[in-house]
């Protein structure tokens, strides 16, 4: 075996790699990259499609309208404040239902439930999370309003913010519960042991150790729930009514940000192109986008805080 033979050692050739194999790697990599970039394209598309028409809308109308005279897009009256107020009321009702129920469920599941109970009760929340919002809309309209709201408050209108808020609240209970539970389960067992080792009772451990340690996750859950409640459409479109006059009475109906979009979509002004009513849809959409986007970022920050710690 001579020197030349050694230089032709197959090992050396192998180290240079197989061209086809390399090319395939590059191709695969680029395909996946393209898919990832597509997601950015979507958000750009959302922002562009919203901003364009929303800008045209702002150019066309007098911004002072935003604070008075009601939301009547077909009359050229755009009191965005009324939409925001109604959304806020519904969100408030929803949160005051979902936060105690959701966090209570989460504490129970994470701290108290034995595995059997857990196996039985956790799917309840998962099923509830899978119920489409239009179904809860029907439930709010055909059950919550007549059987609950109207029985408690005889003066309530058939379409009312309270029933819609309750419906949205039910819808976001599983969200609050699951994120809070995640956060509580992320609290290391060593902390619970430490507390028990100091002679703590179960309620000390859950409320004084676990909940404070999981607080940033729970806050994230609440913020996300607010964002979800603001963005919920179908329950509101079915149960909250279309009244454009600003009303702070939850027993009256009122149109919300999402409700306004749905109302304009159903009465298909869409085709009408450049009139202000059609364009207001984009402006309201932009408002929703900005609000929920902001809340999501804040919530994400809280989630990261508890993820980093443990």
């Amino acid at each position: 075996m001579g020197v030349g033979k050694l230089l032709m050692d197959p090992l050396l050739i192998d180290l240079r790699g197989d061209r086809g194999r390399q090319r395939r790697e590059t191709l695969v990599r680029r395909t996946f990259l393209a898919a990832a970039v597509f997601s950015v394209a979507i958000s750009v598309a959302i922002v562009v499609s919203l901003f364009g028409e929303a800008g045209a809308f702002l150019n066309k109308i007098d911004v002072s309208q935003f604070i008075a005279n009601g939301w009547f897009p077909r009359r050229g009256r755009f009191q965005v404040m009324a939409l925001v107020a109604h959304s806020a009321i519904i969100t408030g009702v929803a949160i005051s239902v979902a936060v105690p129920l959701g966090i209570g469920s989460a504490i129970y599941l994470s701290e108290y439930a034995r595995s059997g109970t857990r196996r039985l009760l956790k799917p309840t929340l998962e099923i509830l999370a899978g119920v489409p919002s239009v179904v809860l809309g029907v439930f709010a309209l055909n059950f919550i309003t007549p059987q609950l709201v109207k029985r408690l408050f005889s003066t309530a209108e058939t379409s009312n913010l309270l029933a819609a808020g309750l419906g949205v609240g039910i819808l976001i209970v599983p969200l609050v519960a699951s994120i809070s539970e995640d956060a509580m389960r992320a609290v290391p067992d060593s902390l619970r042991q430490a507390a028990y080792g100091l002679g703590a009772k179960p309620w000390h451990v859950s409320l004084r150790v676990v909940v404070p340690a999981a607080l940033s996750g729970i806050v994230a859950a609440i913020i996300l729930a607010i964002s979800r409640a603001i963005g919920e459409t179908m329950v509101v479109a079915l149960a909250a009514g279309n009244a454009g006059i600003l009303s702070v009475n939850p027993l009256e109906g009122g149109i919300t940000l999402t409700g306004a979009i749905a109302a304009l979509a159903i009465g298909s002004d869409q085709v009408a192109g450049d009139n202000a009513a059609f364009q207001s849809l984009f402006f309201v959409g932009l408002l929703l986008f900005v609000m929920t986007f902001g809340l999501n970022i804040v919530s994400e920050r809280f989630v990261r805080r508890y993820r980093q710690r443990y």
């Binding site: 009601g70 279309n242 009244a243 009465g267 298909s268 002004d269 085709v271 009408a272």
Partner: protein, 339 residues
Amino acid sequence: MRRTVGARLVIFVGLVTILAACGGATSAGTDPTANDLPGGPAGSIEVSGSSTVEPITALVQEAFASANPSVGISVEGPGTGDGFARFCAGETSVTDASRPIKASEAETCSAAGIEYVELQIAFDGLTVLTSPENAAIGCLDYHDLYALLGPESEGFDTWADADTLAAELGATHAPYPDVPMVVTAPGEESGTFDTFAELVIADIAEGRGADVTTRPDYSPEANDNVIVNNLSTNPTSLGWVGFAFFVENADMVKAIEIDGGAGCVNPSVESIADGSYPLARPLFIYVKTNDLATNTALIDFIDFYLSDDGIANVSKAGYVALPDDLLNAARSAWESASS
């Protein structure tokens, strides 16, 4: 046993496809080649427009469709105004209307080169309603209605708030009781709203330089049921719905008689058909005539609509059928347009 990821994915997607097919996917029973075969009339018909007329047209379409499965048909009812907008943009070939086309809409149509024929198919009456418990109000005239519901009544929370305006207008039934007034009525996208504005508000409003519209501060509802519900639960409520819907719920609400200048008239099939009830309106369909030469399905469809079998759906949907002279007028208008 080893399977690659790819194979697993194929199985996965395949299973879901089967699941989709089991539920009766849209492709069920169709064959691409069937398209070329001669058969009944083929083509597609898109109808939009008034939500009031939609039930009639939907029933007619259904009856027509069962005999003509090759025709693709869709009906929707966003409202008369929105319907004309789509019609004049060339997106639909028929539009339902609970009022005649407006001049501005006609302009849009002609600018877009859309030609059409207007066919009256039925009557509907607007019924102004209150709770059966509201004994104080039995009859109202146009001035009353304007004072209570017109554009200048924005902010009136009680019936008595309208007293001054009513007196100024010379309304017959003022002053009104000093009780809360809660108004529930169809929303602005609906033809019933337009008709109310046109029939009740327009003349007085134009005379006073006000907009032809109602007060905005009421509860607008898309669902007539909700309107009736709200009206029946509040003893001093006020609102209006289409006559057809009032008939179905006559036990829950009270119709207010209307004085159009010739005394108070109660809404009924008879008073609407003979023209004595003032708040009655004709219902129309508008058919785009540009396409008639190419779209034979459209001709067949309108032929069917105006036939005895088709027009019978007017009563079925709860509206007031046309007297013979008006029906014949519509039929001959269609005949001249389609031949």
